[in-house]
Symmetry: C2
Subunit: 377 residues, 2 copies
């Protein structure tokens, strides 16, 4: 890590494996399939760790991911963003290559064009109906009048796979109790929607729930068939702030170099700005605002009270918190910055330099691999 | 623009040309060299518009840009981020290929290693001393005790080129008068530093100033040799909010597709989230907060009162402002979103689909070119 030009993204594969094993064990205990969301790492190499070294079920956020993970051997995918008509030819093309790619929708309009695209192409386009469990984003409420009509349009075209919900508001559930309640609400919404469809004589194979906070809080997933989560492979300061993980679980960081000092302002200036960290300030609304990130030395040891408090395009500003003295970090010193939001920070990079803290905590850990990321749409 | 999968970035080359011509005319009137900052567009194709079709002087924010623009024929570059020792081999390599790449620094420590790298390599490493004119980020105050010592170290190694300052705080100068004052302060700081160096017997060739707001406000650049600005090629909602440009000057937008409706919340959901727009919320601190962006139809005509107010990774939420009715935009409708911060939004994309509004305002303008972007560091 002393060699590549900075800034660059680093993944600690030891922590990643530990985070993956933790949720894997939970899903096994809860008796559900785990379908990790690969939108965070967007790395086929990282995805091989999710299911013991072989491609397993995953969730994707873009068709570019679907195509890249299909090319890497994945055959069981869910595209968890509401589908638009112009995207269906790419979905059909994957289906013809033997890839199961479930699509998502929440309107009669969408169900109609998916059904007609499936009939025209003569392929199954397995589809899930998005259910809104917390007013976060898309979906139908489980009691929405249109639900069974949509189910019927899909079923008649051989496309109805099930229901999917995402408790996006759980990112703002500040206590373990609130996170458990969010997990219950997520389960209840998905199961209620599935029961309504079944009561209307429609077959529901998949009942899918998940978000990183609720996946780690759920204690009973009766009626649910699969669990999704994405952020957990790396975790981040937002998740640490919620208590879903410890700082010691954060697997993603960005290596930056000190390029200046402004002692008159109490600033250390680095070459890692928002192009390297993203503009995400997810902890701004938490009890402890972590600025653009907490700072460790190159070995990964936290430097107490040092926070990245400002970012311009290619500059980061580090300041000391709570009146602490600014550490002596000469020009050229390499540091690691732990991000607010792993998904957003990872998205600023083409790939990851991979280190393994299980091999000890060297002053400058050896880079053991490079994992490219899928980019674009 | 009806064909490519969404989201994608669009540049209106007509507006870009007009923005470029406007600042070009100002620089000519002010009698200074214009050295545009290519950090916004990061496109060698766009850079050809800057100097009438041939590579001219530019500023870069990364060595990846320096290398890419050198490969595209540029021979006169300034790398306007404080230099770290490990970056010098790439600087030396460019110098050996006949590229003039000025580096920037603000400490004795940096001056010493640049001088010694230049001596070792046997090449000139033209260097500028960064001057702080407004407490924004890096640099030495013009009256800083260390200034002439740094100048001497550089001069003795044949590396002293001049001084550079950037009025970063001008982004918060809300009135034309405040922007003019910021421009005066920027000029005064740079000229004062140059005069101190000259008074110490040190030659100062370049006196460089600039930011998009001050470049458009400066009325007298006596003592300054060159002007820098980057954002102006595209402009954005932050600049429109400052009054530096009109909404009609915004040359960058992101095309998104409607993928859902939540009438119960007053939301239209699109497939353009923060991966497409960035997390930048630069207008949040302005008098008129523009959310994640204003919305136009595909032709570029503003849809009154429609604002992108929320973003998740691959979802955008549009809402109506001031109690206006939500327009009817069926699933599949393509829209354009005008960003807060062009530099940040552009950085989320691999390139630009180029349209030309001088060719009329079609319902779905033809894509006339694709300009790839330089990425990474």
């Amino acid at each position: 890590m002393a060699d590549p030009d900075t800034p660059f993204a680093v993944v600690d594969v030891h922590r990643t494996r530990r985070n993956i094993a933790r949720l894997r064990a939970r899903a096994d205990r809860l008796g559900v399939t785990l379908r990790p969301h690969v939108k965070t790492a967007k790395s086929p190499d990282a995805a091989l760790l999710l299911h013991d070294g072989t491609p397993g079920p995953v969730t994707v956020s873009t068709l570019a991911e679907a195509e890249a993970f299909a090319a890497a051997g994945h055959r069981d995918l869910t595209y968890a963003v509401g589908v638009a008509p112009h995207k269906l030819p790419r979905v059909v093309a994957l289906s013809r290559r033997g890839v199961t790619l479930r699509v998502l929708l929440d309107s009669t309009e969408q169900a109609t064009f998916v059904a007609s695209a499936a009939r025209e192409a003569g392929v199954a386009l397995p589809t899930q109906i998005e259910i809104d469990c917390d007013g976060h984003r898309g979906g139908l409420r489980p009691d929405a009048p249109g639900l069974t009509g949509i189910g019927r349009i899909l079923h008649e075209a051989g496309c109805l796979d099930g229901v999917l919900t995402h408790a996006g508001e759980s990112y703002f559930a500040r206590t373990a109790e609130e996170q458990r309640e969010a997990a219950h609400a997520e389960r209840d919404a998905a199961v209620a929607a599935a029961e309504r469809l079944r009561a209307a004589g429609l077959p529901v194979a998949t009942v899918s729930v998940g978000s990183t906070p609720t996946a780690h809080a759920a204690d009973d997933l009766t009626g649910v068939t699969e669990l999704r989560a994405g952020n957990y492979v790396f975790f981040d300061l937002v998740m640490a702030g919620l208590g879903v993980c410890a700082l010691d679980d954060l697997a993603l960081s960005v290596v930056v170099t000190v390029i200046g000092h402004r002692p008159e302002y109490g600033w250390i200036v680095t070459d890692g700005g928002w192009t390297a960290m993203s503009r995400d300030r997810g902890t701004a609304m938490q009890a402890q605002d972590q600025g653009y990130g907490l700072v460790t030395d190159l070995s990964g040891t936290l430097i107490p009270n040092l926070v990245m408090t400002a970012a311009s395009q290619e500059h980061g500003t580090l300041t000391a918190r709570d009146g602490a003295a600014l550490p002596e970090l000469p020009i050229g010193t390499r540091l690691r910055v732990l991000p607010n939001h792993a998904c957003a920070t990872a998205a600023q990079h083409h790939g990851y330099h991979v280190v393994d803290s299980a091999h000890g905590r060297a002053a400058a850990p050896a880079v053991e691999a490079y994992w490219p990321r899928v980019t674009g749409w």
